[in-house]
Symmetry: C2
Subunit: 321 residues, 2 copies
């Protein structure tokens, strides 16, 4: 039994009889043999490895990693994960990936300056997710955040709402574009005069604080919120003050996080299409590796509205004049 033959069987490559195949497999099982990935990668010039840098504290990155695993799997690639933590910066994380001879780098919401990313991109394809980076050598895949808010506003307007407020995300990534999307959408419906943006943030408490402010005078009949977490805070305050949702006021979140789908939250929200983002990211990386489509570009994925129980017809507070 030659090693070459075993190799053929273990790789499920053609060129071995069914009998030998069986023999090898049972023997391997008995011995607890597993091919050594290091040696395999070393020998084959390709590593078929996609390096992924993600932030351990970002829940959303978890969703992206999930999608990346699936997409890479379908394409016959493996993922090498490297996390950034409070004590481990992006350069370190990238460094280990480089040593592992990843054929492309997929960076989730990188914080490093564009210059460094560009430098990296000279050695192997770099695909950036969830951050807008403008550089001629870097691929970007991100959500059309402005469009997400347009969809939310359109939905609310179609339900008869006119006084629609927006609780924003301050300086969080994506907040500016979502704010812009909200403004543009209102304008398109001729509701400029009704636009009301309340400073918010990313957390439940930020949302709660903004909601309290909102209730002060002439509350809106609907509110779009920067993200689901903040929307949760908003819901608690509104309900706590005796309002019924969505009869009295509608609320739309952003992210379609796990929490939004829970039956007792049941939040209407804008879903980032993580499946598509990750599929595109992997496809893009592989295209670049293969040289199929060598010019880097920015791919913008439209989000979609998930309509659940916190949005409904506008109350008849002010009859249409």
């Amino acid at each position: 039994m030659s090693t070459a033959l075993v190799s053929i069987v273990m790789r499920q490559a053609p060129g071995a009889s069914a009998a030998t195949r069986q023999r090898v497999i049972t023997a391997a099982e008995e011995l607890g043999y597993r091919p050594d990935n290091r040696a395999r990668l070393l020998r084959s010039s390709r590593s078929r490895l996609l390096g992924v840098v993600f932030g351990v504290e970002h829940a959303f990155h978890g969703d992206l990693v999930s999608g990346l695993y699936a997409a890479a799997d379908d394409a016959g690639y493996e993922l090498a994960l490297s996390a950034t933590t409070p004590g481990r910066d992006e350069r370190r994380a990238v460094g280990t990936l480089l040593q592992d001879r990843c054929e492309a780098l997929i960076l989730l919401g990188p914080q490093t300056p564009t210059g460094y990313l560009a430098e990296l991109a000279q050695r192997q394809p770099v695909v950036v997710l969830a951050r807008a980076v403008r550089h001629s050598s870097i691929d970007v895949v991100r959500t059309a955040d402005a469009d997400g808010l347009r969809q939310a506003v359109d939905h609310l307007v179609s339900l008869g709402h006119r006084r629609i407020a927006h609780i924003d995300g301050g300086r969080a990534p994506g907040a500016a574009e979502r704010r812009r999307g909200y403004r543009t959408a209102l304008r398109r419906h001729g509701l400029d005069a009704e636009a009301r943006i309340v400073p918010g943030g990313l957390t439940e408490e930020d949302g709660a604080a903004a909601a309290r402010r909102l209730l002060g005078r002439q509350p809106p009949t609907a509110v779009t919120v920067f993200n689901d977490r903040a929307a949760l805070g908003v819901l608690d305050i509104l309900r706590g003050s005796g309002l019924s949702i969505p009869a009295d006021i509608s609320v739309v979140g952003y992210d379609d996080s796990r929490i939004a789908g829970l039956s007792n939250v049941n939040l209407t929200t804008v879903a980032q299409d993580t499946d598509q983002i990750t599929a595109l990211a992997v496809a893009r990386a592989i295209d670049r590796i293969d040289g199929t489509n060598p010019t880097p570009r920015e791919l913008i994925v439209p989000p979609h509205l998930v309509i659940r129980g916190t949005s409904g017809r506008a109350p008849d507070i002010e009859p249409v004049s």
Copy 2:
């Protein structure tokens, strides 16, 4: 310039003159040369790799991974990360690590049956974190959850509270032990009669629902909650119903999650000592690898109370008789 010499320089091993060292380093920089990890690992019989399996959806695992990186770094080991996702089970995650020839496996809150873990443990050391597994060949490092609740109750009693309720975590991991810790602590203070356990859960909404129930009749002056997320829901409901915290009612959470520390939440909570858990896990793994301390065991790390703004003196509702 021989390859061996370059190897010596790149590994920072002794046996090269300062001049050559400099020469090699500059040349490497110019060429963008990086040693190939695969080849290095292949050649040296050791991989110095610790395999870590974590769940992409568990925020707490993020904290543990952070700590593991730091601990491994100090010990001169590297981490190989492999995530479980909704579409990628533990066996898959473990499989890739095995192929990478990790010298030990560190599993965060594994769900697989003990039998499978035991099987794994025959090939290399297995250290389980954040789950109680009882098996003679597996190391376990976990928090003394019962003690955490004892500390919380002791703290509240020392502030004069007597009517202390507990909102539990149902069947979540750790919930049973926390419940037990609560009961035992009350008993020790002679407060058995005051014990009141309200069914809760892991989420904000679970906490909120439990809090509403709590307010029904004769509310307690303090409440311990299964985790911080649920505690957040509790806080919102209590505040929403006009109670002032901690003047009217004290709240203690569990986990010391990022959110607990935010200035506008400022939650008193029980902190799992992730630094120590991860340090012990890495130390244990290395001990087993080296054969220094070959008998597997269970290490139980005491949590500690982080006193913030949601706990205070008991209100003078009932003067001490």
